[in-house]
Amino acid sequence: MAQTATTGAVITADKKTCFQSLFLGLQTFWAERGCVILQPYDSEVGAGTFHPATTLAALWPEIWNVAYVQPSRRPTDGRYGKNPNRLQHYYQFQVLMKPSPDDIQDMYLDSLRQIGIDPDRHDIRFVEDDWESPTLGAWGLGWEVWCDGMEVSQFTYFQQVGGMDCSPVPVEITYGLERLAMYVQGVENVYDLDWDGVPKDRGGKTYGDIFLENEQQQSAYNFEIADTDMLVRHFAEAEKECGAILSAGKPLPAYDQCLKASHLFNLLDARGVISVTERASYIGRVRALSKAVCEMWVDSHKTPDTGGQG
């Protein structure tokens, strides 16, 4: 038995349902279905989609199946550790399969069974949710997947990235790992999640043990401390650097600068200093960068003799 510092709820440590078993299970599941298992991208991103293994690979005209965990940062979602569901730093499990397999919905439902969600006991629904990332110039059609009214995954057939058609069409599945784990463990507060399945008295850790302090400090930074003049300056610098790298013909490092600009924009947004009209302008600037990166990336993968991709 393990006790959390946050709510005092009694949590049973269980190797089968602990937080890490979820992403280990998903990794195994998708590896068995032919996915390359990657590690997180080492830059601040708002979602697993921003990992170049998704964004740029979606424009690659080849077979590409990949899965990975991606720590994601959404500064505006910070709640100083006081909200049982909202975090400014959380984990996504990301799958991208290209071309989209014909039986992908069944595969996905099997993956839910694998992590302990049985459709015979729950109400699983595919509810329209078209996805759009203005900063990536990307969009797709699909659903959010509901389990008893809770959104547990995003399911999207990418149509365009960087303003260019994806061909063949990849399907992206994004699992919200904390939510799924809370569901599987029957826990009301994210900080009460059993992380490792090790009992407390033997050093077992909860989500709160590992991340509560981080949420408190990072929320304060995002909402109160971040120097907005500096952020504005860094945004402009990242934008400039991105352009310079593109001039040198290197889309991959240029993409890193694009990600930095995007994260800086998110921080400015969290500080509440961007108006509706300014927002549009910032988003437009990031999109211009990602579009330029994507275009150069696609160009660099064209076969000269056919003029086509591949």
Binding site: P84, V127, G149, M150, P168, S275, T277, E278
Partner: protein
């Protein structure tokens, strides 16, 4: 005669697109069958989240034989032309007949086209209909070169009980379907529609949306009644939920009591928009602590875990709202106003703090024209109007901006009028939205919109064509509705000038823009556009209520016989004047020499005009438009007499000039009322 059954089984079709797709499929299939000359009866279509279904009875096995008559060249045409004709239809001269027409003798031929097997044309009809089906948004998937709303899993197509084989994109038709995604396994062979419907029902799929809707509506009402509650009527939600389930199972959950003191708008938004739950009402009409959720499946525990899960999700959402509700209120709205200085309204127009400053002054100015408002309260309401933008609650529920401000203002002890003005000041948001009518709300709502319009016109950011990024048309309509519906006597020109001074910049073209929007608004309400033009042509009118009263009286007047007659008289007078003035190259607007008038009819007209002109002008002054029209009507007999008995174009040139001047004074009598030349009829 045979039955045609078609089912497209796909991944989940968005609920909002289903009804239209269902109708479109039926229409396109019926059109295709008709075009091929195939009879049919009892055509129906159905839709579920995963299926589009079409069925029709009574289709013949063959298309009908057709005899088609063709006209050939003249019998005297060169042989080459005749041979060309025969070649093109593959017939001989012997098969042609000669027929005498008014233009000469021509060859005619009857081509008998025998019918073909319906089974050979149906695949083309079906694939054409499917390809033409207009989805609001469609997609590509995998590497296939086709679009559909979501990937297609399979196509079932039976004609007379046999498979009708065709390919649509990557999918080949067959005779099998599948049941419910979770409650049924494997494929289901089908022999016809009745078999299909029965087997799917056994496999937990109700194909008819009307049946599902009915089941949900009665099930939900029954559940609510079981707790002594009533269901909050919500047709839109019922339709949407019907499109989310193939096998509706209606369940009831409880809202944690901890959340019941949150604003009902917050509860409703969380439940309806996010979770698609129905709300329940207590006997007194207040929101009850129950919700109704429609699941798409029967679970082994009778929905226990499903309900528990949904309760937990709602609690999580409301916990967030609760957190904001509690923490937001620790800072009074008044202290949040400063944060607006960090929000840019528009790069060239300053921050929201600047905007609020201007709105406060403008709202205060507007109290002069809005009964029941006081300058202090208007200033206060405007000052606080946008303070809720920095609250967590509005960040979470953006649609509730203003509404949340009202709650927080009341919690801060602001007065009711101020609180309501905060909630109302974004309204009306369009032609269908409720227009504020409380005095302070009207002042602040008007001030906000006029400030926006003046600001963007001042920096020349006007709407062009379909582009209106700052929703200025909506703002202008809001101004118009607020003024007209509250009957505000407001010199709009002066108010705009006041707002311009606050910016220190002119808003060129704004008055014309508002006039243009007013015309559009009135036209949409069925007011004749020529009457609007006739009154607008007077120019300089910036009191919309007065303008509208004039348009209305004019409309009533012209509908009467006197009115129609006077319009004729006006047109006759101005036509004569136009023609003669053009001929003579002079404008007849001189003094009428009363002594030089000869006939009684022209003397009477002159006398009458002298009587009614001052009456009309004074009635216009007092805005008694009914009297204005009444005065005009009295002139009808004398005007009629004049035109019946007096020849304007007399041989006596002085007399002619005098009479033309008299006609000009008839026209002048009309001119201050409206420009009658713009009126049609």
């Amino acid at each position: 005669m045979a039955e045609l059954l078609l089912e497209i089984l796909s991944e989940e079709i968005p609920a909002r697109m289903q009804a239209r797709a269902c109708n479109d499929l039926k229409r396109l299939m019926c059109d295709g069958l008709k075009a091929a000359g195939l009879e049919f009866s009892n055509a129906r279509s159905f839709v579920t989240p995963r299926r589009l279904i079409f069925v029709a009875d009574g289709i013949p096995q063959r298309t009908p034989d057709i005899a088609e008559e063709r006209k050939g060249p003249s019998t005297s045409a060169p042989d080459k032309a005749i041979q060309g004709f025969l070649g093109s239809i593959g017939m001989t001269l012997e098969q042609c007949e000669k027929r005498q027409l008014p233009k000469g003798e021509f060859y005619f031929v009857v081509i008998n086209k025998s019918g073909v097997d319906a089974a050979s044309v149906l695949p083309g009809i079906i694939t054409t209909a499917l390809a033409a089906l207009p989805w609001p948004k469609s997609m590509r998937w995998a590497g296939y070169d086709m679009r559909w709303v979501r990937p297609i899993n399979s196509i079932l197509c039976l004609f007379g009980g046999s498979v009708l084989e065709f390919d649509f994109g990557p999918v080949s038709s067959g005779m099998q379907t599948r049941g419910h995604r979770f409650l049924s396994t494997g494929t289901i062979p089908v022999s016809g529609f009745d078999d299909y419907k029965t087997k799917l029902n056994t496999a937990n799929v109700m194909i008819d949306p009307a049946e599902r809707r009915e089941l949900i509506a009665t099930g939900a009402a029954k559940l609510a009644a079981s707790e002594g509650l009533s269901l909050k009527d919500d047709r839109g939600l019922l339709d949407e939920v019907t499109g989310l389930v193939e096998w509706p199972v209606v369940l009831m959950g409880k809202i944690d009591d901890d959340f019941m003191d949150l604003p009902p708008e917050v509860l409703s938004t969380s439940m309806r928009a996010h979770q698609k739950y129905f709300s329940c009402l207590n006997g007194d009409g207040a929101l009850a602590n129950r919700f109704i959720v429609v699941a798409n499946t029967e679970t082994v525990d009778g929905g226990k875990q499903v309900v528990a899960g949904n309760e937990r999700v709602l609690s999580a959402r409301l916990a967030d709202a609760r957190f904001f509700w509690d923490t937001d209120r620790t800072i009074p709205l008044a202290e949040r106003v400063g944060a607006l200085a960090d929000r840019v309204f528009h790069a060239k127009l300053g921050t929201l703090a600047d905007k609020i400053e201007r709105i406060a002054s403008l709202a205060e100015e507007l109290t002069k024209y809005v009964q029941g408002s006081t300058p202090e309260n208007a200033r206060r309401a405007a000052h606080l109007a946008k303070a809720d933008l920095s609250t967590g609650m509005v960040a979470e529920f953006p649609d509730l901006q203003g509404v949340i401000g009202r709650y927080y203002a009341l919690a801060d002890g602001e007065n009711d009028g101020v609180a309501h003005a905060i909630a109302d000041h974004y309204s009306p948001l369009g032609p269908g939205d409720v227009c504020p009518d409380k005095p302070l709300s009207v002042c602040v709502a008007l001030a906000d919109k006029i400030d926006t319009l003046v600001g963007f016109f001042g920096i020349d950011e006007k709407p062009t064509g379909s582009k209106d990024p700052f929703a200025l048309r909506r703002a202008a309509l809001g101004v118009i509705r607020l003024i007209i519906e509250n009957k505000l006597r407001l010199p709009l020109g002066l108010v705009i000038a006041f707002a311009e001074d606050l910016y220190g910049r002119k808003a060129d073209g704004l008055m014309d823009f508002i006039a243009e929007r007013l015309k559009v608004h009135l036209r949409e309400r069925g007011v004749r556009h020529d009457l609007i033009d006739a009154v607008f042509a007077l120019g300089g009118e910036d009191d919309l209520v007065r303008l509208l009263a004039r348009v209305d009286s004019l409309g009533v007047f012209l509908k009467s016989e006197d009115g129609a007659n006077m319009l004729n008289a006006y047109k006759r007078a101005s036509n004569i004047l136009r023609i003669e003035e053009k001929k003579d190259g002079v404008a007849y607007d001189g003094h009428v020499d009363a002594g030089a008038l000869e006939q009684d009819e022209e003397k009477a007209l002159m006398a009458h005009l002298q009587t009614i002109t001052p009456e009309i002008l004074s009635a216009l002054d007092t805005e008694n438009f009914a009297n204005v029209m009444g005065c005009l009507a009295t002139a009808r007999p004398v005007v009629d007499d004049f035109f019946d008995h007096v020849t304007v174009n007399s041989e006596d040139l002085d007399l002619r000039t005098n009479r033309l001047n008299l006609l000009a004074s008839v026209r002048r009598t009309f001119d201050p009322i409206a420009d009658f030349s713009k009126i049609e009829g």
